[in-house]
């Protein structure tokens, strides 16, 4: 559990609470990068409870967040120069958006925290500022009924908190809307790339080894020459689906993510073909095309999980058709490629 951001403490009639810095240390920055790239798989959490920012008193506002350290860090940084309280819910180290979907960032946990820390004794007002994403799990009217605290939904992004406060706790349309701009998509690509985990290494390795095979004869030299081409083909298809497609998302035709991934996959295949990668013979080329198209399409379809505008009904609809086709294409391609090892 991280502690380095605590810079002091504040004493209230309801107890002593830690005061946290509103600046990021190099340590915080480095950990943010590590988390984005899923390095170390550490649990990046803060202790649930009440924290102070600046010199908070009984009139200071209360901001609610998750105990995922990045959520907490973005909030405390956005509160620079403000005296406030932060109420951290126990979401088991998961960000507000995901935790609200699962219900861990929800009415029950919020009510429990308010009572556990006797928030009514810390502040004299009865208002909580909850990030708008939290509304998926929190029912404002129920919190009010159970605790007397009114939930005010803040802006989607922590950096809009100051303008939101300046406007008398009113979020503009823009602050309420979730956009999915290039910068946001870029930030999510590392996680997508790391999603393949060991598979993204084992599968190319298997291809590399099998590449040495030709008509019952095995040669290391062939494994190196053909195998490296196979590995490049595979990684190209993988990145086409989980990096290129997200980057180009709005500019690729079609609405279905699987089709978007197919378009980039075919584009990448064409580039590989004309630069001397892909295969040497026609059957090999066709096999690769099938596999590359399937991989790119599948990875792109997975980006629906990260995007912020795809509905469950929509994803189910596109998967019903796409998933079997992806499996068939990948299967045929794989069989074709293995057969070409023997002819």
């Amino acid at each position: 559990m991280e502690k380095g951001f605590i810079v002091g403490q504040t004493i209230t009639s309801s107890g002593t609470f830690p005061v946290v810095s509103t600046l990021w240390s190099n340590h915080d920055r480095w950990n943010t990068i590590k988390v984005r790239w899923s390095i170390g798989r550490m649990r990046y959490t803060v202790e649930p409870g009440i924290y102070g920012v600046g010199t908070p008193d009984e009139n200071s506002r209360v901001f609610v967040t998750a105990n995922f350290k990045l959520s907490f860090d973005h909030l405390r940084r956005a509160l620079n120069g403000i005296n406030a309280w932060i109420l951290v819910l126990n979401t088991r180290g998961i960000n507000v958006w995901c935790a609200a979907g699962k219900g861990t960032f929800g009415t029950k946990e919020l009510v429990k925290r308010i009572r556990a820390h006797k928030l009514e004794n810390v502040v004299s007002h009865r208002k909580l500022i909850v990030p708008q994403f939290g509304a998926v799990g929190v029912a404002a009217h129920e919190v009010k009924k159970l605790t007397g605290f009114s939930v005010i939904y803040g802006p989607v992004l922590a950096r809009d908190i100051k303008p939101f406060l300046d406007a008398g706790m009113k979020a503009t349309q823009e602050m309420r809307r979730v956009e999915f701009p290039l910068k946001e998509r870029m930030k999510l690509i590392p996680v997508e790339i790391m999603n393949g985990g060991y598979w993204a290494l084992l599968v190319p390795l298997a291809f590399f080894i099998i590449s040495g095979l030709q008509s019952m004869d095995y040669s290391i030299g062939r494994a190196v020459s053909k195998g490296s081409i196979a590995v490049i083909n595979l990684f190209a298809a993988y990145l086409s689906g989980c990096a290129l497609t997200p980057i180009l998302l709005p500019w690729i035709p079609f609405r279905r993510f699987a089709l978007k991934g197919l378009v980039t996959g075919l584009g990448i295949s064409a580039i590989l073909f004309f630069t001397g990668f892909l295969g040497c013979t026609v059957p090999e080329n066709i096999s690769w095309l099938l596999m590359l198209a399937a991989i790119s399409s599948f990875m792109a379809m997975n980006f629906t999980g990260t995007s912020t505008f795809t509905s469950l009904s929509g994803v189910q609809k596109e998967m019903k058709l796409a998933l079997p086709l992806q499996i068939i294409a990948a299967g045929l391609g794989l069989i074709g490629w293995i057969v070409t090892r023997f002819i």
Binding site: F68, I94, A140
Partner: protein, 101 residues
């Protein structure tokens, strides 16, 4: 009206609004991340149904229970997860840095 050109599949969204029950409080408009609702003559109205991502925030925060939507994770990995386990679509956000679902 439609930002970024990012619209997902159309005519699949399960969102429904019962105008009779609506009291015009505007909560649905506040919590919706895709500006699906509008308030007109003290009643909510679905303006951009196709933009709905079925997150369920509006249903959760409607004090009159006037909204219904089959909410869940619009996430391919989550649906595959559900298929494999024989459960509802569920994402596996056990990774701490995970931005999934």
């Amino acid at each position: 009206m439609i930002m970024n050109g990012l619209v997902y599949l159309t005519d699949v969204v399960t969102l429904e609004l019962d105008k009779e029950k609506c009291n015009g409080c505007g909560m649905c408009m506040i919590v919706c991340p895709h500006a699906v609702f509008e308030i007109e003559n003290r009643k909510a109205l679905i303006r951009n149904k196709n933009l709905c991502m079925e997150c369920g925030a509006c249903e959760k925060n409607c004090p009159e229970e006037a909204i219904h939507v089959r909410s869940g994770v619009g996430c391919a990995a989550g649906i595959i997860n559900g298929l494999l386990r024989g459960t509802e679509p569920t994402c596996d956000c056990s990774g701490p840095g995970s931005n999934c679902c």
